[in-house]
């Protein structure tokens, strides 16, 4: 490799280091000054993102929140379970939470998302429920099987048949 190419790569590495320094310093400042509002800020960035960076940043910060704080993001995270590239991350964050507290609140947390009546939301929430608790999934699939929407109904019925 030519020296000037390698020097150019090293320059970009240095720039990345500097940019990372600025980012981590601002993040540390937000943690120290606004810790109590952090979960609200992440929630807002997930629900009303100004752009895609807002969403990615929210997921980055969400990873660092306590389990108790992440539980407060459950509705927002469930809404991302059908959201392309972020779906896997949303599901992982939910499934990494302690099972018992999640099971206590997840049905209620899912309601605002389900109220949108988006077929993919229903399917993906069933998938999350199934990973969490088989009985919860069966109950939810039974609800789906009686839904007005034929697609949701069919998905629920198929799940029950395969169960």
């Amino acid at each position: 490799m030519q020296d000037d190419s390698l020097e150019s790569i090293r320059r970009v590495w240095r720039e990345a280091t500097e940019a990372y320094d600025v980012f981590t310093s601002l993040r540390a400042k937000l943690y120290s000054d606004n810790r109590s509002q952090l979960v609200e800020m992440v929630n807002e960035a997930l629900i009303h993102p100004q752009n895609r960076s807002d969403q990615y940043l929210a997921f980055e910060i969400a990873e660092t929140l306590t389990e108790c704080e992440r539980l407060k993001l459950l509705t927002a995270l469930l809404s991302y379970c059908s959201c392309g590239r972020l779906a896997g991350q949303a599901k992982s964050l939910i499934l990494a939470l302690p099972r018992h507290p999640v099971l206590e609140v997840i049905e209620g947390a899912a309601e605002p998302v389900l109220a949108e009546n988006d077929f993919l939301d229903w399917c993906n929430i069933l998938d999350v429920f199934n990973s969490l608790d088989k009985e919860l999934a069966r109950r939810f699939a039974t609800r789906m099987a009686a839904h007005d929407d034929p697609n949701i109904r069919e998905w629920g019925s198929d799940f029950l048949k395969e169960d």
Binding site: L6, I9, V12, A19, N34, S53, L57
Partner: protein, 172 residues
């Protein structure tokens, strides 16, 4: 949820801009570095400890392909023995294909163990415990016959985990 103060919103927006800038430059790095990415990450991992270079290397290493991450295994193992980076390093190793790691890890940890640092032995034993039971047993046996009293004592403690429960005085 409660109202977010305007000052907090401002800080979030600044953070988002810094995040965007960082991600943009990192993407530029990946585009430019291509085949040299692993070499540069390795160089940073081997560099002076606790620097930003190393923190960036951790970040980039996490996003490399499995093959590329595997190439960094020798460098990452040392970080399993350093408190502040141990969790990251252990997750990194445990996310690699288990069989391939098992084929080389004993050889790769030897230079670390040769430093005869009690905490290195503990950290490696802990990593082996997460990786593979026979490997962990082998390590415990080796530790239990070590000339260093502390390593030997810890090895004996670890060996208790491999004895049947009744031998340890616990109910089955």
């Amino acid at each position: 949820m409660s109202e977010i103060p305007e000052t907090a919103r401002l800080k979030w927006n600044q953070l988002r801009e810094a995040f965007e800038n960082y991600i943009t430059i990192r993407m530029e790095f990946h585009k430019e570095a291509v085949v040299y990415t692993v070499d540069l990450v390795r160089e940073a991992l081997e560099g002076p400890p606790r620097g930003l270079n190393q923190e960036l290397a951790f970040e980039i290493a996490d996003h490399l392909s499995e093959e590329e991450r595997f190439q960094l295994l020798p460098q990452v193992l040392r970080f399993c023995c350093i408190d502040r980076s141990a969790q990251w390093a252990r997750t990194f190793v445990l996310n690699l294909p288990r069989q391939r790691v098992l084929e080389s890890i004993e050889r790769l940890v030897e230079p670390l163990l040769a430093e005869q640092d009690y905490f290195y032995w503990l950290a490696i034993a802990d990593l082996f415990h997460c990786l593979d039971r026979p490997l962990a047993l082998k390590m415990a046996v080796r530790m239990a016959s070590h000339e260093d009293y502390d390593i030997r004592e810890w090895g004996e403690e670890l060996l208790k985990d491999f004895r049947p429960l009744e031998e340890n005085g616990e109910e089955t």
